[in-house]
């Protein structure tokens, strides 16, 4: 694998990660062994403000949250495609420039569609 200045400098971060991993394992192990732990049926059973829980904690919600998350992914990907385009801007030919313009127009059509259909509105 290529060994650059970047990877040489970044490999020193690995020591930090190893120390962090070691320290977190030590702290977890110590709290597990030294801490007092005697469970009870009353202690372990779930409760809501002193009552028994009414229903399940997982309730099904509106599908529109899912829609917002999916629209977020699409525009997140659009933003991620900007990064290599901006970095290599001076090395692009004219097709490379206008392909990004066309990409923006394509997703803008989708954005207008989502706006007109009322996918971004809440009621």
């Amino acid at each position: 694998m290529p060994f650059t200045i970047f990877s040489n400098e970044i490999s020193k971060l690995g020591i930090l990660f190893i120390i962090a991993l070691f320290l977190s394992i030590v702290i977890l192990f110590l709290s597990l062994t030294l801490g007092v732990y005697n469970p009870d049926t009353e202690k372990v059973s779930p409760y809501e403000c002193g009552f028994d829980p009414y229903g399940d904690a997982r309730n099904a919600f509106d599908v529109q949250f899912y829609l917002v998350a999916l629209l977020f992914i699409v525009f997140d990907l659009e933003a991620l495609f900007f990064f290599p385009w901006c970095i290599s801007f001076s090395f692009l030919n004219i097709e490379g420039f206008f392909s990004m313009i066309d990409f923006i127009i394509e997703l803008f059509v989708g954005y207008i569609y989502a706006w007109r259909m009322g996918a971004l509105e809440w009621n």
């Binding site: 694998m1 290599s88 009621n123």
Partner: protein, 196 residues
């Protein structure tokens, strides 16, 4: 040290990835399996970072952990599965072996592709750029937008189709929605009272 050697680190991370991907579908609680999926994504991201493919590793964190894992959590919440009892079947093992071989082949090809691309770009051989090798972001930008821009436009169309499909599938077309029109409320004046 074996741990600070990068190839040894990749070996350890690959073994960890196998165990985590097994735990994804062995675990009984679906929320736990989503968490193991996130751990697997992080694992792959670290491996890509070690292999000098920095931009793809950051994409793994942003797209897969930031967005797709959220969608998986939504699916878990919506389907309302309490417990999923894992039963071992033979075709799981076959699927696992096929997936491992595919992962091995594809990761080798990906790394080989990027190394070859870094060698092939000629105009970055100027003395200024020889200080450090061409980084992943530059390579991806120049190859994607100069040579594969038709694929890039196709990716845009696929994103557009995904967006329109999600809207059509999930949106209930209610004509009598109770939205408040803000401009109509703000532009209301005493002239409207004469009408009544």
């Amino acid at each position: 040290m074996f741990l600070l050697n990068l190839e040894g680190l990749i070996l350890i991370l690959s073994i960890l990835l196998i165990f985590v991907s097994l735990l994804i579908f062995i675990s009984n609680n679906p929320v736990h399996s989503v968490l193991f999926l996130i751990l697997a994504f992080f694992n792959v991201s670290i491996q890509l970072f070690i292999l000098n493919v920095e931009f793809l590793s950051i994409i793994f964190i942003i797209i897969y952990v930031g967005a797709i894992a959220v969608l998986f959590l939504f699916v878990v919440m919506m389907l309302n599965i309490k417990k999923f009892a894992f039963k071992f079947r033979v075709y799981y093992l076959i699927f696992f072996i096929v997936a491992m071989t595919l992962y091995d082949k594809s990761s080798e090809k990906l790394v080989a592709f990027f190394i070859q691309v870094e060698k092939e770009i000629v105009f970055m051989r100027l003395p200024l750029f020889l200080i450090d090798e061409l980084n992943n972001l530059n390579v991806l930008g120049q190859i994607l937008f100069n040579y594969y821009n038709s694929c890039f436009l196709l990716a845009g169309f696929i994103l557009l189709i995904a967006m329109i499909g999600a809207i059509v599938l999930s949106l209930s077309f209610r004509t009598t929605s109770k939205n408040q029109l803000l401009y109509r409320q703000l532009s209301r004046s005493e002239k409207y009272f004469y009408f009544f």
